[in-house]
Each structure stands twice: as C-alpha cells, then as structure tokens.
C-alpha cells in the first residue's frame, strides 16, 4: 500500500493504538490531582487576611486561566505542524482542543468575575485581564465556527490553521490594547487579579496540584476528542467513498 508523502508522517491507527494505553492513565491521574488539589485548597487553607475566604477561588481561576491561554498556544503549534508537515492528526487535535480551551476561558471568566465582585461591587468590571479573556473567548468562538462551516476536511484544516496564526497575533495586540485602554480611563489601576506574586506558601502547594490537575484534564479531554475526530473523519471518508463507488 503506497503511503504517499502527504501521509507518511501521520498515522491515525498508531495514534489510536498508543492512546488506547495512555488515555486511561492520564484520565485517572487527572481525576486524582483535581480532587486532591481542590479538596486541599478548599478545606485546608486558612483565610487570607485581606480577601477573606474568596482567596479559595484562585484554585479554579488561576489553573483555568492558564489552561485557556495554553490551549490556544497548543492549537497554534498544531496548526503550524499541519501547515508545515500536513500531519492530519495535529489538525484534528487542534479541532479537538478548541472547545476545551473555550470552556476553560468561560470558567476563568466566571470565577474571575465572582472573585472580583466583592472588590468592585459589580458582577462585571472591565478589568484588563478579564476583558482579554473575553476577547480570547470570541477568538475561540470564531475558530470553532469556521471548523463547523466547512465540509471539506482538508480545506477546513488549512483555513482554521491560518486563522489561528493570524488570530494569535491579534489576540496579543488586543491584550496590550486592553491594558492601554483601561488605564486610559484614568480611573486608577484597579486591583488586577494577578495573584502570583503575593501568594504565600501555604496557598501555593495546593495551587500547584490544581494546576497539574487541570493540565492533565486538558490532555485527557484533547486525546479523547482527537480520537473521536479521527473516527468521525474516517466515517465521512467511507460514506463519501460509498457514494462515489455506488
């Protein structure tokens, strides 16, 4: 069977076989780390003198915010791999990762808004960080919508990977534009939510476990969804061939 160059690198059958073994482990570890991290963070950390118990929200907000950004970076890398190496599995992995990234952005937005509520007195404040997550959410929405709008898989993979490249540049631009725009309102730098600097050790360790949990959860979900995308694509090809063959 002659594998033409287009296909020599990627091998969905090998991908599915390897993930058969790996997926259960990753899923198990993810569950363990998540449960452990959240329980540790929720039950066994003292109150913060300034923020009271709302500090417990960092165990959701920080990991989800990190994953929201890293998911887009992962999609950027897989898009590049698709453009350069025409590696089918990486294009499908990007398609699989987008919804997970979007959900992480939603969680980051919700927890960020709830956490900021006592400070700002309103459910939503145009804080630069929260606003840039809102813009990232719009990018995810557009990316997924483009995948759904195109029938031909190869064209869809090409177009979405180019959109991902261009979108990343504009997402970065928006990130700084938003920073400029909020300070521009002369309302004084609102207490932005970057927690990393002032997190005492006792809060730090559960946070690390939560972050590990979210990363593992992301990997498990992307592997699972990529396998589904591969099978869905194989189904489309078989159906198309049946129509052509009949």
């Amino acid at each position: 069977m002659n594998l033409n160059t287009l296909w020599a690198y990627a091998n969905p059958k090998k991908f599915i076989q390897t993930t058969d073994r790996v997926l259960p482990w990753v899923a198990g570890l993810a569950a363990l780390a998540l449960v452990l991290g959240l329980i540790w963070g929720f039950f066994f950390t003292p109150e913060d003198y300034r923020q009271g118990s709302t500090v417990k929200i960092i165990y959701l907000h920080v990991p989800s915010a990190l994953m929201a950004i890293n998911a887009w970076l992962m999609m950027l890398v897989t898009s590049l791999v698709w453009i350069v190496r025409r590696h089918h599995v990486s294009a499908l992995a990007a398609r699989a990762a987008a919804p997970v990234g979007m959900v992480m952005t939603v969680i980051a937005l919700i927890t960020g808004a709830i956490w900021g509520q006592p400070m700002w007195g309103t459910w939503w404040a145009w804080d630069p960080r929260l606003t840039s997550f809102l813009i990232l959410f719009l990018f995810y929405l557009g990316y997924i919508a483009l995948w759904e709008a195109i029938e031909n898989d190869d064209t869809a993979a090409d177009l979405t990977s180019i959109l991902c490249l261009v979108g990343s540049v504009f997402a970065l631009l928006s990130r700084y534009a938003v920073n400029f725009w909020n300070q521009g309102l002369h309302q004084g730098a609102s207490l932005s939510l970057d927690k990393e600097e002032n997190v005492a050790d006792v809060f730090w360790y559960p946070l690390l476990v939560c972050i590990a949990g979210f990363v593992l959860l992301f990997v498990a979900l992307v592997l699972l969804r990529t396998r589904t995308e591969i099978r869905a694509r194989r189904m489309r090809v078989l159906l198309a061939r049946e129509r052509m063959g009949a």
């Binding site: 033409n4 287009l6 296909w7 059958k13 694509r233 078989l238 063959g245």
Partner: protein, 205 residues
C-alpha cells in the same frame, strides 16, 4: 515548449478521482478529453491549469503560459463588452482587443452592457477573452456549451488559428469540434480504484 503531464493523479474533496494520467503535447497540437460527466475532467483541467495542486505526479509547462476557461466566463454584467475584454487584456499585460473582437464578431456589440447579451454571445465573449490573453496553452472546460452551430464553427476556426500559430489546447467536450488533427483521450480507464476499505490510514487520503 510544449505541455507534458506525467503520472498525474487528482483528487476532488479529498478523494482521488483520476490517477496515472500521462500525455505530452507539442506546439500546434490539441487534445480532446472525453469521458462521462463527473469522472473528474474538470478537476483534471483545473490541476493542469495550476488552480489546484495534484495529489501526485506533475504537470510541467513553461511559466505563465496557461490560461483556463471554465463553465463560468467571468463576465461582469454591468460592464460593456469592450470594458470586459479590455480589462482581461490589461490584466494579462497587453492591450489590443480589436483582433479578438473580430474573431468572434463582437465589434457590433462593443458598447452593449454584458448583462444584455444572449447566452451564446456571452459565451463568445468568454472565448474571445482567450485570444486577448496571448497565452500559448489553452485549458478549456466544455467551451461550446450554449453555442449555436454557427458559433461552434467560429470557435473551431479560432482554435485552428491558435494551433497554426504554435499554440496548444486541452479541451474537455462532448460534441465533435471538427478538429481533425486533435488527438482524443478517453479518461475513463484512468478512474481511481477505491482503496481497499480495511486500511485504516488509507481512508484518510
């Protein structure tokens, strides 16, 4: 300076339709493609014209020597015949359109907006565009659709003149153009064999 295609296979919507095609054309030769509808003639012509990359094999022709004419003629209804032709002439780098207007008797229709032309006249305008581009290799997909007998003769004469001038043509058509010197290639034997279904990876081609 001719056109040569070696072991070409083309795909439509990600699925191979034709494979193993090879032929070569020297200047002054024409090739007529026959085959049932939907077998992939259009896809083959678009690949030869460079509009889409082949799945394997290659097409080599001198750079900037191909011109493609598909079913749609690229005519703007609100522009007059002269403006349409003039635009395509400038787009391809030359400006004389009178000779093409003569060849397809479009001079009397010069100032009429293209939207007011009949299907046959529009088609003649589309084919006149070929002359205006000054390209050697014509790649034509069903050029004589909606043409009456007299217009088909006009088109055959234009092709013959093009070939006499050292040009080449690859034409997909069902009706006989009366081009005695053209070779005929039936593409049916080159239909892509569907890959056996059990090779999981193959299904991705």
């Amino acid at each position: 300076m001719g056109l040569s295609v070696s072991d070409l296979s083309v795909a439509r919507g990600g699925i191979r339709v034709l494979e193993g095609l090879s032929f070569a054309l020297a200047p002054g030769q024409a090739l007529v493609l026959r085959g049932p509808n939907g077998i992939g003639k259009t896809t083959l012509l678009r690949t030869i014209a460079g509009l889409q990359p082949p799945v394997s094999g290659e097409v080599d022709a001198p750079a900037d020597s191909l011109v493609y004419a598909g079913h749609a003629d690229g005519i703007k209804a609100t522009l007059t015949v002269r403006e349409n032709l003039g635009f395509w002439a400038q787009a391809f780098g030359n400006s004389d359109i009178s000779q093409a207007m003569e060849a397809f008797q479009l001079t009397p229709l010069g100032e009429r907006p293209a939207g007011a032309l009949s299907a046959g006249q529009k088609r003649r305008l589309g084919l006149a565009r070929l002359l205006v581009t000054g390209r050697e290799i014509w790649v034509l997909d069903e050029p004589t659709v909606s043409l009456d007998v007299e217009a088909v003769a006009m088109f055959a004469a234009a092709v013959r003149a093009h070939l006499a001038g050292g040009g080449l043509a690859v034409i997909a058509t069902h009706i006989d153009l009366g081009l005695t010197e053209a070779e005929v290639l039936d593409v049916t034997p080159f239909k892509a064999k569907p890959l056996e279904h059990d090779d999981f990876d193959g299904a991705f081609l």
